[in-house]
Subunit: 392 residues, 2 copies
């Protein structure tokens, strides 16, 4: 075993202790109130798309994030598809997004018939590279009667989606300036960022719309779940309408006025979310403690940096992330192998979206930083409960 | 109050008793084991897309229906969209379906970029009118190098979707003969039909694929949920792949090979389904008792027929249905008003799909029977627990 992998395992053990059984990358925890609310939901028999917990969960999310309107849906992909749809994205529009993201970001665009257009990343925030973005847009954008278009493909640009990678904020004030300049709507993919703020404002509330995810591996989970956030009342109304089969209210008549979805979060799942929202500040506090512990242990590490929250930001540290100083997929995979063999569930970042077969022909900017990050990022176990596992 | 409405209320009271509070159209009931399984699911922390209850629910459904493969998903609309996709439906294909159906049938086709093509109903089964279908297909179909096409629109016909209305079976042997003759894949919309059989075979297992729904108003519910049924192993594999972001199995790598969805039923919801599957035979038994009681009470009724299961069929009587002998929306609405005012939640059938604004320009056959049914059908309270409510 090389020195680097030795050191790596020793560091993980310092933070996480020696595993009796494999330590998952991220697992949820449920307070006692989760049981109580779920049982109350079953007792009411209102387990489906109508019920008090859906409304309550939306209200809790609105209060917590500061978004004026929240629409709870079945998952983050659905939330992003709905957000793009109410923004007015049309088939064949291009949607600007980072190449370094989970596949759902691109799939949501595809589900609207739109075409992902991939952009490079910032090695500091792991999100969109704003320095490069500005110059790139200047090169590709032409304003026509159809709106902001890509002069090379002649397609309209429908939106720009910053994604807050692992909960680390993109500098939203500067991004909004750039987007405004080119008249591009901003939809924030804050799927991973519940609890993260930029300049003390919650992520997902800067853009025209934002989305959250509550899948099983997220900071809080509803089994499957997501939410659309917006301050715009008419977009909120339309989003809710489109997620509930676009049925017009009537005592008994079934009349629907749009092609729409059955995307409403069931009350059963919302009940689980309500309980965890009460617990969220305490969860985040423990997650920060864990991140701090990783930061201490990996300080002065020769081969590896710990990724810390960007300036002006407070990150939820959804997934704690290490970065090899020398990007190298072989070294990365060696570390992943020894860590996973030793019972620490670690993983690389996602395969860059333009390398997936269905997205290889999509337009893209040069992606040197994203390529580097792909070869150098490692996520390490990040559950809140691990904050107490330290051996020190 | 007219004599007809008087009689109607007296009949409802005979079956359902006098309501203390409004009697819902359909509400679920959960056995003690539902709570135990949901609690076990929470204790395991596996509430999301991985967990033992999803597999168990799929196995229970496979065993119960006789389908070789079952894929549990977030809802019936998603199930139908996936079924159409794995069948090979392409954008601009036409999908044959009854005009008398819930909007989800048409929406699922739209979500594939396909175009609904509406057909007439049978006043006996409330499903597709097979006599008319045969002649209609003979008129519109032309076989070209692209497959079975509509000679008038020149579009390919991608599939035919029989829908088993309120759980009453379409005569599937004859429908399959017709579909075979025109080389059309059959996808059964059995959203309402869990527990219904035709010639002792469960609905949803006759076509290339079938789908079920477990929304809150269905015979059993998982909050939100649905399932794809098929006997074809490669279609089953593809359906599962497409509902789980098309991720290829790997120890840590994120590689996805198709545009796909996050449509997997969460384990939390599946746990609720598992408990109710154990209870299903007994639920169905009570639902049949209730249907029998409606049938007795409305026998010899001058203005109204009770809709009974078609020949060679066993219906789950998901929603008990009355039919005015004289189709007339004014009389229908008068009955709906007095019933709902008296605390019996009743509703008409769905607005015919070709009358919804987004579907008015879709192709359609003449729809005389569907129009008649729209003006004459009334659903009456149908929960299994009402079987014991009779005042006789």
């Amino acid at each position: 075993m090389s020195t680097a992998t030795d050191h790596f395992l020793i560091a993980l053990e310092k933070v996480l202790g020696k595993p009796d059984s494999p330590i998952p990358l991220h697992e949820p925890e449920f307070p006692q109130s989760a049981w109580e609310k779920v049982q109350d939901c079953l007792d009411s028999t209102f387990v489906s798309s109508v019920g008090k917990y859906v409304d309550q969960f939306e209200n809790q999310l609105a209060e917590y994030t500061g978004a004026k309107h929240v629409i709870a849906v079945v998952n983050g992909t659905a939330a992003l598809q709905v957000a793009l749809t109410v923004t007015g994205v049309q088939p064949e529009d291009e949607i600007l997004m980072p190449a370094l993201s989970f596949v759902a970001t691109a799939n949501a665009a595809s589900h609207c018939g739109a075409i992902p257009h991939f952009l490079d990343s910032d090695s500091r925030t792991l999100g969109l590279n704003l320095d490069v973005l500005e110059g790139y847009l200047n090169t590709i954008v032409e304003v026509t009667s159809r709106g902001t278009c890509n002069r090379y493909t002649q397609r309209r640009i429908g939106a720009i989606i910053p994604m807050h990678t692992y909960g680390h904020p993109v500098a939203m004030d500067r991004l909004l300036d750039i987007a405004d300049h080119y008249n591009l709507p901003v939809i924030e993919d804050a799927a991973e960022a519940l609890g993260s703020t930029y300049k003390e404002k919650h992520l997902g509330t800067f853009g025209l719309l934002g989305i959250l995810s509550f899948n099983g591996n997220k900071t809080i989970t509803t089994g499957g779940g997501g939410a659309v956030l917006t301050n715009n009342p008419s977009l909120a109304e339309l989003a809710k309408h489109l997620t509930t089969t676009a049925k017009l209210p009537h005592r008994w008549q079934f009349f629907h006025d749009r092609v729409a979805w059955n995307y409403r979060l069931p009350n059963l799942n919302a009940a689980l979310g309500c309980a965890q929202m009460e617990q969220l500040p305490e969860l985040l506090c423990r997650k920060r403690l864990l991140a701090q512990r990783y930061q201490e242990v990996f300080r002065d590490f020769r081969e590896i940096d710990f990724v810390v929250e960007p300036d002006n930001s407070r990150s939820n540290y959804w997934l704690n992330t290490l970065k090899l100083k020398e990007a190298d997929p072989v070294s990365r995979d060696r570390l992943l192998t020894v860590a996973n063999d030793a019972g620490y569930q670690c993983r690389p970042t996602w395969t860059l979206l333009h390398k997936l077969p269905m997205y290889t022909n999509c337009p893209r900017s040069p992606l040197p930083v994203a390529e580097q990050l792909e070869a150098s990022l490692i996520n390490v176990p990040s559950s809140a409960k691990l904050a107490g596992a330290t051996t020190q």
